[in-house]
């Protein structure tokens, strides 16, 4: 299992102001899975993703991600895990707009020890992969929304992670560019990358193999769609 959660509880605030946002969440995601997390706004989707990605350590319960128990890791080791094995993709792209696309993509390299030539080659590779090879030296701030998200995906792919965590990746994109991004995700999943995507959009969850529903902090799973159902190529 790439992700194993057991009885995860999380609350914001203390005492009477406390608000539980994750309740006894159990989850197992296998390597190569493509899972969508759906739920109403404020149901705790981002909170769950943050726990899995090691961005939030303020929770109770057992969490094992990419073979490591998050609880026992030092700040350094956890940072290293994020650096090497997990890619994050956000709704707002989160690009440093004063830097070029290439520099944005190479951001993970600031915290690893790759040499310059290797970094440069990898930047070209991943930009090529998302179809933006010609934009390497353009300022990130000048790109369109769809291009920005593709640069962000290239950045997430930089260290060839096993797990991609995406929080509303198509939320700020129009239908057409959103569809292109979903297609890219499917290709990546075909190449073996495990995907966990928080989404509102049916077309994203339709693309996923598993749909996890979160409601007021409790997680449940939709029954798996039958193989071949809705097949249009029959």
């Amino acid at each position: 299992m790439l992700i194993k959660l057991h009885k995860i509880n999380k609350q914001y605030g203390q005492g009477s102001a406390a608000r539980r946002v994750l309740r006894d969440v159990d989850l197992a995601i296998a390597e190569g899975d493509f899972a969508a997390i759906v739920g109403t706004s404020g149901s705790g989707k981002s909170s769950l993703l943050n726990v899995i990605g090691g961005l939030d350590r303020d929770f109770t319960g057992e969490a094992e991600v990419v073979g490591q128990s998050l609880r026992g890791l030092s700040d350094r080791a956890l940072s290293m895990l994020r650096n090497r094995s997990i890619g994050f993709i956000f709704q707002q792209f989160n690009l440093l707009e004063h830097l070029s696309c290439g520099e944005n993509v190479a951001l993970p390299a600031v915290f690893s020890k790759w040499d310059k030539a290797k970094v440069k080659r990898r930047v070209d590779d991943v930009l090529e992969r998302v179809g933006l090879a010609d934009r390497r030296d353009h300022l990130a701030g000048r790109l369109s929304g769809g291009q920005k998200q593709r640069v962000a995906i290239a950045r997430a792919l930089f260290h060839s992670p096993t797990l991609l965590l995406c929080d509303e990746p198509t939320g700020n994109l129009d239908t057409r560019t959103g569809r292109a991004v979903i297609e890219l995700f499917q290709q990546l999943n075909d190449e073996g990358i495990t995907l966990l995507i928080v989404t509102h959009e049916a077309r994203v969850s339709d693309a996923a193999r598993r749909v996890l529903r979160i409601e007021d902090g409790s997680l449940s799973e939709d029954p798996a769609p039958q193989v071949g159902s809705g097949g249009s190529d029959a």
Partner: protein, 461 residues
């Protein structure tokens, strides 16, 4: 620090250039003032304490504790005790020598051959002449001149008829012997005084750049012992006598205002015109220390054996300089600290503005330490740049001051070419201070940035 983190820091700095310039102005002004005042302090100290009032020496005098005197006086036994302190914890002095004042009226005249108008200048010597141990001054005198008591081993031949004598001697007619002139040294004070007042107002007179080598070296003049221009005449020891003196050099061990001659002469003359103990007791003893740090323990030792240390002008002035530069430096330190608070503000603002960026860095693999280093690195660079600019400003200001002094101010004694000393220590201190204060200001913001949980930081967008 890895170069890629440095790149990130540099890009952040570039992005906030306006802010950074604004917040570094305080540091620049503060460091400029700091370096300027400390360099001025060092420069003034060099001139005042190094040349005008050397602080490597103590003048020992008999205590004046009662109206009738303390009954203590400085004689050879006391000099010996000063040379070799009985207490082994007291640092040994580099040299000790006695000074003996001329205890009777004296006057002099001379210089006719130096002045173009050819008239002798009269000068009063009562109180302006003393004797100093030959050996402490002799090494400073350049040949062919010497500083020694010629009468100690010289048997002067009688004068030839008509008071004539061989070359290099003159006829002391009261004893009818051909004496060598009495070697005399003067202090640099006198030269500076002459250069800046007499010579400056009198275009006929040459200035004395490197004193005896050119103008006054070997010049002789006449001194009348036992009579002053104020009309006083000695009552004992017979008639006043005349002796020729010869200027042989400049020494910082000479009496500040007046002439110093080998002590043997003064002993004999005092014996003759004053008698008694006046030929055996010194008016003071000068003690040269090996280092400035020895001053305090040696002064304590002197007090412990019942003598006083003459409060040198150097010490008082040194104290004054210390106080003045302390106050000025304090002002600049306060400026820098206020600037550091300003830096803290700016960085707190930057950190809260860039919360999501910090979150992003954490997401792509930055540890808390990385985040802290990024913020502190920015501060250190601002500090280093501000320090460099501040130091340059101070240096330029110093050049302007020196130029103004050289071109606009009239000559005055010991007028220096530069009033400033920018030592490597001062430069290092200023840079360290600038960087240190920026780091100090950024410490809390860096801590806050590092303490943010990545999820919290990212959630702020």
């Amino acid at each position: 620090m890895p170069s890629r983190l440095l790149f990130l820091i540099w890009q952040n700095l570039r992005r906030n250039m306006r802010h950074n310039i604004l917040s570094s102005i305080g540091i620049i002004v503060g460091i400029a003032a700091f370096a300027f005042f400390l360099a001025l302090d060092a420069g003034v100290r060099r001139v005042v304490l190094g040349e005008i009032f050397p602080v490597d020496r103590l003048e020992v005098v008999a205590p004046k504790s009662s109206l009738f005197g303390s009954g203590r006086f400085i004689d050879d036994a006391v000099l010996a005790r000063l040379r070799q302190p009985v207490d082994s914890t007291v640092p040994a002095p580099a040299a000790v020598f006695g000074r003996m004042r001329l205890g009777f009226p004296a006057r002099g005249w001379g210089g006719a051959r130096i002045l173009k108008r050819g008239r002798d200048i009269p000068f009063e010597l009562t109180g302006f002449c003393d004797g100093v141990d030959d050996q402490v001054i002799a090494p400073e005198i350049k040949p062919p001149f010497t500083f020694r008591d010629h009468l100690a081993d010289d048997q002067p031949p009688p004068c030839a008829p008509g008071n004539r004598c061989p070359e290099g001697r003159y006829c002391a007619w009261d004893v009818n012997r051909c004496h060598k002139p009495v070697p005399a040294v003067i202090s640099r004070h006198l030269i500076e005084l002459y250069n800046s007042s007499i010579a400056a107002s009198n275009p006929d007179l040459p200035k004395i750049p490197d004193f005896l080598t050119s103008i006054f070296a070997g010049k002789t003049f006449t001194v009348e012992l036992g009579r002053s221009y104020f009309g006083t005449v000695v009552r004992q020891g017979g008639q006043p006598i005349q002796r020729k003196f010869q200027l042989v050099g400049v020494s910082d061990k000479a009496i500040p205002l007046g002439l110093s001659v080998p002590i043997g002469y003064v002993k004999r003359w005092n014996q003759r015109y004053k008698g008694g103990a006046s030929a055996k007791t010194y008016s003071s003893a000068v003690l040269l220390t090996r280092s400035k740090a020895d001053i305090t323990p040696i002064a304590a030792y002197i007090k412990s054996i019942g003598f006083d240390v003459k409060q040198g002008a150097g010490k008082t002035i040194g104290l004054f300089i210390t106080l003045a530069s302390f106050l000025l430096t304090l002002v600049s330190v306060i400026i820098v600290f206020i600037a550091a608070i300003n830096i803290a503000h700016t960085f707190l603002m930057l950190v809260s503005e860039r919360r999501w960026e910090i979150g992003l860095l954490r997401a792509v693999g930055a540890s808390r330490a990385h985040v802290r280093r990024t913020v502190l690195g920015e501060a250190a660079i601002i500090g280093a740049v501000s320090g460099t600019v501040g130091l340059s400003l101070a240096w330029v200001a110093a050049l302007v001051c020196d130029h103004f002094s050289a071109t606009r101010l009239p000559d005055f004694p010991f007028k220096p070419e530069s009033y400033f000393v920018f030592s490597p220590t001062l430069i290092a201190l200023s840079m360290g201070f600038a960087i240190g204060c920026c780091l100090l200001g950024a410490l809390l913001p860096a801590q806050r940035a590092a303490a943010l949980s990545p999820a919290q930081a990212l959630g702020s967008r």
